[in-house]
């Protein structure tokens, strides 16, 4: 058993894991009840699933330049996925897509309420 075989087996396991996370995201996004929980399901393949698939691909390619490009893909995804999720979540909150009955903690609404109250209580200048 050579190191090539070991790398191929590890790569197959990583690819399977990544594909399973993509499938889990599909199931989650279809079955979950509101926007925030669907986003939660959607982030699974976006970071961990993608990193697993890229590790699998890197173990299979085993050449310097390609592996660095894959590291670049992973870094891009880790930089952009939070930005996209933040924008979607903010737009969802502002357009009333967040279901309050499903939330355990809603710190944003509490904070906004407190700011509005303090504004009201402040004596006029």
């Amino acid at each position: 058993m050579s190191w090539d075989t070991v790398a191929d087996v590890a790569s197959a396991i990583c690819l399977l894991g990544g594909a399973f996370l993509a499938f889990a995201a599909g199931v989650g996004v279809l079955r979950f009840p509101d926007l925030l929980s669907r986003m939660h399901a959607g982030t699974k393949p976006q970071v961990l699933g993608l990193v697993l698939v890229l590790i699998g691909l890197a173990l299979r390619l085993r050449s310097g330049g390609a592996v660095w490009a894959l590291v670049l893909v992973a870094i891009f995804q880790m930089l952009t996925a939070p930005v996209a999720a933040h924008m979607v979540g903010r737009a969802g909150y502002r357009t009333g897509k967040v279901r309050n009955d499903l939330l355990v903690v809603d710190e944003l609404t509490n904070d906004l309420d407190r700011v509005v109250r303090e504004d009201d209580e402040r004596p006029p200048a």
């Binding site: 191929d8 594909a19 993608l50 691909l57 490009a69 891009f76 996209a84 357009t95």
Partner: protein
């Protein structure tokens, strides 16, 4: 090895199909955006799977481009998402469209009849669409 590749392909395809179903049903534009984000991520995984199977390093730039394009799409849509009226984000059936058309035509005819019979005539006024 080949059955592992087949299993990966089946899982990826099933995930993408489920996400597309949500994109079709999705009550709001943001749900569709999230679903299509998952489709793009699944596409990246599928291209990576292909590159791994064929040991092709020349497809790697495609992965870089795809990971950037998916981000631009969802940010743009989130930027322009606005409050939609209830039921607006749904694709209407043919019967609903026909009923709406019928109601609008009847309203127009009613307007026309009232105008011809002259019950609420009005004279003069600016031209329609005039900027004052």
């Amino acid at each position: 090895m080949s059955w592992i590749i087949a299993a990966c392909g089946v899982l990826l395809t099933a995930g993408a199909v489920l996400a597309v179903v949500r994109a079709e049903k999705g009550p709001s534009i943001l749900d569709r955006t999230v679903a299509l984000d998952i489709v793009v991520t699944t596409m990246i995984a599928a291209v990576a799977l292909y590159a791994a199977v064929e040991r092709r390093a020349d497809v790697v730039p495609v992965l870089v481009v795809l990971s950037l394009v998916g981000f631009v799409g969802s940010v743009t849509v989130a930027r322009f998402a606005s409050v939609e009226p209830e039921g607006e984000g749904r694709v209407r059936t043919r019967e609903e469209v026909a009923a709406e058309d019928k109601a609008r035509r009847e309203a127009e005819e009613e307007e026309e009849r009232r105008r011809v019979s002259g019950t609420d005539e009005h004279h003069g006024g600016g031209a329609e669409g005039e900027v004052r």
